[in-house]
Symmetry: C2
Subunit: 160 residues, 2 copies
C-alpha cells in the first residue's frame, strides 16, 4: 500500500500494519496463536479462499510471524507455527479482544481473557518498568532516539 | 468482507476488525487520537486519496469511533473528533506501537509510549482486577457468558 506522508514510514503503527495489518492476517494469527497449524484448519476456521489463504500465510512467514515446517514428505505438507515475534503479537490481539468485548458485544462476551491458573479476568493496561499501572489518559507518545526531525516536530506540535 | 465460519461472528477480534480493521482506518484513528481533526490534516498526514479518506471517515463515524462536528457553516466544513469508544481504541494502538518498536525498528524507536508526568516508558501488559500484572504466557482465552456451543467447543478443544 502506498503511503506518501513524511513521517508514516517511521511510525511503529504503520510499520506493523504494513507487515500484519491485513484483516485476514490478523485472524490467521489469532488462529495460529490458539493452536491451529495446518492449511485445512485455517481454511475451515476462516472460510477464506484457498489462494488468499496461501498468499496471507506466505506473507506472514516473510514477516517473521510464522514458521513453515514440513510435517509430511509425501505428499509434501506444511504446518505454520508462530515464531517468537508471532507470539509477541498476542498482546495486540488481547487488546482487540478487550476492545471488541467492551464495544461490540451487546449480548455479553463470547470470549474472555483470563489468567490460566486463577481464572481471573484480565485487562490490557500500560505498565511502567517497576510494574506500576498507569491510566491510559496519563500516557503520551514522545519522539524516540531514532525519530527524524519531521517526527519530532509532529509529536511536539500536537497537544496530547 | 465475507466470513463463513461458525464461530467468527461472535469473536471479539473479528468484530473489531469488521468495524475498524481496515488499514487506513487504524491510521486515521492514530491521527485523530493525536489531535488531528480536519479533512485536510488527515489528507496531508496520510497521503490518502480524497475519496478513500471520505469513505473511511464515514465508516469510522458509523462505527461510533469518530463524531462529525460542523466547524464552519459557510462553506460547510466538518471536523472529526474521537468518541469515548474511539478514545478506548488507544490501547490497541499502544499495543501496535510497542510491537512495532520491538520488531520493526532496527534503527531504534522513533516513537515511544511514556507516562506524561514522569517520562517513564510504558509497556502494554495484562492486569488483573486488583492491579496484578500477569505475564502473557499465563493468560488464556475462555468462553464467556454469551458463547455459543460452537465457540465453547472451539475454545475447549484447543491446547493453550
Amino acid at each position: 500500500m502506498q503511503r506518501k506522508s513524511l513521517t508514516s514510514d517511521e511510525c511503529p503503527i504503520a510499520r506493523s500494519l504494513d507487515r500484519v495489518g491485513e484483516w485476514w492476517s490478523i485472524l490467521i494469527m489469532r488462529d495460529a496463536l490458539q493452536g491451529l497449524r495446518r492449511f485445512d484448519e485455517f481454511s475451515r476456521s476462516l472460510g477464506i479462499a484457498p489462494n488468499m489463504l496461501t498468499r496471507r500465510l506466505t506473507a506472514l512467514v516473510e514477516a517473521g510471524m510464522l514458521e513453515r515446517r514440513v510435517y509430511s514428505e509425501r505428499p509434501p505438507r506444511y504446518e505454520y507455527v508462530p515464531t517468537a515475534r508471532g507470539e509477541d503479537f498476542r498482546m495486540v490481539l488481547m487488546s482487540l479482544v478487550a476492545f471488541g468485548n467492551r464495544h461490540y458485544a451487546e449480548e455479553g462476551a463470547s470470549v474472555q481473557v483470563v489468567e490460566r491458573e486463577t481464572g481471573q479476568p484480565l485487562q490490557p493496561m500500560l505498565v511502567s518498568g517497576e510494574g506500576r499501572v498507569v491510566p491510559l489518559e496519563h500516557c503520551m507518545l514522545q519522539a524516540g532516539p531514532a525519530a527524524s526531525a519531521g517526527m519530532r516536530q509532529r509529536l511536539g506540535s500536537i497537544p496530547q
